[in-house]
Symmetry: D2
């Protein structure tokens, strides 16, 4: 940690800063610069949060810069091997093969989910997505089928052999969701619902944590840290676009976050171009880009009849477009096979 003192800080101010740091049992390294004094602070990073705020309250302190990363369990420092989540039956997330999660926004009825499952299975997806509990902006929108929807997803799994991912919105429904799903999805709006994250952290079930719509990379990894710190280390991150001034797309897909997170963390990262764009015509190009940038997988919305979907029809792919997307991303994935883009060590200059 580095504390930068204001230009006009007096000797007395400096002494006070030093005294406070020592009072908290940190080591002090002051450097007198041309215009300002900076004070290096050495000690246990886990205890620094308090000291940081304490120093910031001082009028003589201009800013405090953190040096050590705030995340531990999510970082390469904690674990030097990429996390691969094994869902059984050969389905893995984070391994050399691209993982594809596809399906409707919401489970609507048996025919719809079974038909979609067959389509995405045929196209090469390994995991079926589908919402039974839906977070909707308006209380007057369709809120999902609840457990009935989960049962239908389980049926679709039996029919196709696909694994299942579905959203969990609250602690109350943990048991019912875990009874059916293979991966628990935590949505963007709940990325900082810490009470929920702590409970999820106690489960023995993989979690896919979507990035909040205004979350920094740091906040996203710290949300994963909440889950891991409670014991559950099977976390998949999912970039689904962030909110910007852009008015033409539902969100702005931040694809550079994917290689950035891969530099910082051993956790797998997938991309959701359906929510990232909100427009089906853009889903396939952005899915291609996600694979090219190095994502460990993608999640897309597919509906046999988007026009009659109960939610997110505008961003759902029709079966033939899903197939086209699969062909294209497979071609890209294959073309990069010899380059070891993900394994590449970031070489020093």
């Amino acid at each position: 940690m580095i504390a930068v003192l204001k230009r006009n800080a007096s000797q007395e101010d400096k002494n006070k800063v030093i005294e406070i740091i020592r009072g908290e049992n940190f080591e002090v390294h002051p450097i007198q610069g041309v215009e300002k004094t900076v004070v290096g602070v050495l000690g246990d990073p886990a205890r620094r949060s308090n000291l940081k705020e304490k120093l910031q309250t001082l009028g003589a302190v201009e800013k405090v810069v953190l040096i050590s990363d705030p995340y531990k369990l999510t970082s390469w420092n904690f674990k030097q091997q990429k996390t691969v989540i094994d869902l059984g039956d050969g389905v893995k997330v984070g391994g050399p093969e691209l993982t594809v999660m596809a399906g409707p926004c919401s489970v609507e009825n048996r025919d719809q989910i079974i038909e979609t499952a067959k389509i995405v299975k045929a196209g090469g997806a390994q995991i079926l997505r589908g919402g039974a509990f839906k977070p909707r902006t308006s209380p007057y929108s369709f809120q999902g089928l609840g457990e009935e929807g989960l049962k239908l997803m389980a049926e679709a799994r039996e029919e196709t052999g696909l694994k299942i991912v579905t959203e969990l919105m609250d602690v109350e429904h943990i048991d019912v969701v875990c009874k059916y799903t293979d991966i628990i999805q935590i949505g963007a709006r709940n990325m900082q619902n810490y009470s929920l994250l702590k409970e999820i952290g106690k489960l023995d079930k993989p979690v896919m944590l979507k990035r909040g719509m205004a979350a920094t990379i740091k906040e996203w990894l710290l949300a994963a840290e909440y889950v891991m710190n409670n014991g559950n280390h099977d976390v998949i991150l999912c970039e689904r676009g962030v909110r910007t001034f852009g008015e033409e797309t539902r969100n702005t897909m931040d694809l550079s976050s994917i290689p950035l997170v891969q530099q910082l963390s051993h956790l797998p990262v997938i991309a959701d171009p359906s929510h990232g764009t909100g427009r089906w015509e853009l889903v396939t190009p952005v899915a291609r880009a996600a694979v090219a940038v190095g994502a460990d997988g993608i999640m897309v919305e597919v509906h046999p009849d988007p026009q009659n979907a109960l939610s997110d029809g505008p961003q759902s792919l029709k079966p033939k477009n899903f197939q086209l997307m699969m062909d294209e991303i497979n071609a890209i994935s294959k073309s990069l096979h010899n380059f070891e883009t993900k394994e590449r060590k970031i070489a020093y200059a």
Copy 2:
């Protein structure tokens, strides 16, 4: 609702659009423009959400524009009188008098909360703020005293006669928080935690709903709509800054949201300049601005000894600065007394 067709939409496309609209029992009003066709759609706004998404899936439809507002219970249309929330003992939110909520970020111990309560009471605040359950970005930061903190706040209420506002983070703690608090605070990170909002909606306890850090005005009002739709109409809105590219302040205080919300809704709106800026030197100027813009109240962090606060010290006012702020906002409030700024009817041109 207005559907705009693409320039190259064929007659067949138009017929299909019309057929779909009629199939959902809406009335159709096509207008053939110079370059594009638009189709006016008339019918029950509550049913339009499905139709909108259905139309957006059509390749021939460029966009769908909603005309009616999505909110009902929060709007002036539902209720023509400003909502005033009466907390008893003469303390009201939304009435002619400015409401001031002040106190520490976190309750830390008996002395700290009692001392702060006395200071803010003496300065003219009516409500004591203080966190017992804290949503922290890092799992390694201080998470609050829990029920012990609530008990200490209740003690401070007994000593001073102040009312209490404190944050609720999850359904699990509803009972314990309600047992002590006068107002339940829902934090920015939980603004779209719909499961929590629904439960809060069933209570007979005022709620203060903070704006999410990337929430539009519409999403904020729809979050309030979730609470009201479940029966609880005592909702206070709180602007606490939004996330932008700005790097010098913790958030960017969006003060124009306050008169904007007041045009759209009968609910009281207050401002939180402490979280809005993150820097104590900016709290007083922004508090003045909030009162001048027409806020129904303000919430600020005050700590007898910010340097030793367990959280948010850098944005907490010291007692003497709190007093100065109170003097200044009272002077502004008084200076506007004769202008009826809030009662003013927005006159037609």
Copy 3:
């Protein structure tokens, strides 16, 4: 154009709106909705801007929604064939082959630019980039070599056969820049420098127009419209990232803007992952993504010795990394060859 009236608009208000529209010689189509009245307005889109603002001044008008696109010359409606800019010697932008522009941020000296030109030529680039007039955030930073730098670029062209692209910052330097360059670059900070755009529009020289850092797609196309409206139709668009709350990268690369612009406009669009990310480790992954999303080309910064670059060293690729990037994007480009991703007609549902 659609004018939406406020819920409480009176019959008198409606009459006034209609009278104003007719007074401007537009046709009126009122539709009485369930909650609000909307008024369809038909007439020459070129004259609508005034009428729009006039209607917005009325207290009874809630909002005015434009239906026709504001751009003309940049749209597919004006020209049904993709614009291909032929720079001679077989170098084209917007054709079936990927265009690669590469070189240092700034021209620094003869050795540096000639060496870099040879490297990027060998790697397969067709165009050499390099700044002679530099827009720097601080007046105390290196501002470029001026005409001396342009002469060195021309020398590098002679040596290698590469074409040249370089930035023009003002009207004053049009002649000197045009004397040497093959493509004029207009930087992000000047995207809305309309005086400059108008002058560029009078030249017979291709222009590459970078997206402003907070420009919407509409504003970007309208900036191109300024150039085209003055006669110069050889415009290349360049996505270089937008400004968001993200703090880990210099900008946030908005890759979905590329297919979006390709839907709206016949102009070629390229991507600049160097400025888009600001970090060399992210340049190659994002370049791959740009090619996969369908960009007509990419522009990257390459420096033989980034550590001693006078500007933008941190985002410059070293020669061996440039070669690796070229191999990877060529592989992706080839893998998509059979899919006709750019030619694909967006099919109706």
Copy 4:
């Protein structure tokens, strides 16, 4: 400057970093932290920009943190007294009295500008605003009357005694604009048009520099630094809102930027609530907030007949609303008179 080394940096890496720093004639202070090494760098801040980029190209360097501020002439360090710009006839910007600049968006004709000038004079404004050269997003919108407009503004000045502020868009029109105006306005879109800023810097005429719509405080002050560095020290800053995800207002008014800039710089700062909100109903509340937050003045759009304005009608105040706004901001200004809000020294804790 502080260089933070990556966790896995080797001793060789560290030696190289130190060697580079010393090679540039800076002093080195390494501190070995618990997890990472940081290296303090001491030396002339004016030379550090190169060294910073050089260090950032090294794979072993995680980040470089600047300690000294990049601005010089704009800072309190350069000048310890608030800049007051004296326009003659008792009109000053930056002094104890609030400066009000008011007038139409565009000069349209003699009657309009003379009438508006009389209205704003009567209301208490000291300076008349009005555009003769207009930066419009679309090339098809009204572009201003040019010199004819400037002549009409000069006539209005003669009639009323008001001073004049008008926008300059390019170097070409410097002479004609300077011939008539008292203050040159540089618009948000030209805030980083460095060629223009440099020329303006050579003039003996006050400049009002609007904040760019995505400019950080640092970039804004550095733009002012471009002007001052060329000799012209009479710079007024103007906050006019920034671009965010907000969709209800034209921009998001960042009022906390005003006290923030006042902490960093001796230059006067005014606020433009007309562009900041884009909606006349919000102009008065935000003008009140701007005065309360401590702005040195405000600039607002006033039109005798907004409905027939050629530009920005929707955000223009009608005469009676302008008067109301003046009464309210004067009341607030007076109420703060005894608090010395601007003179207040930011006390140490």
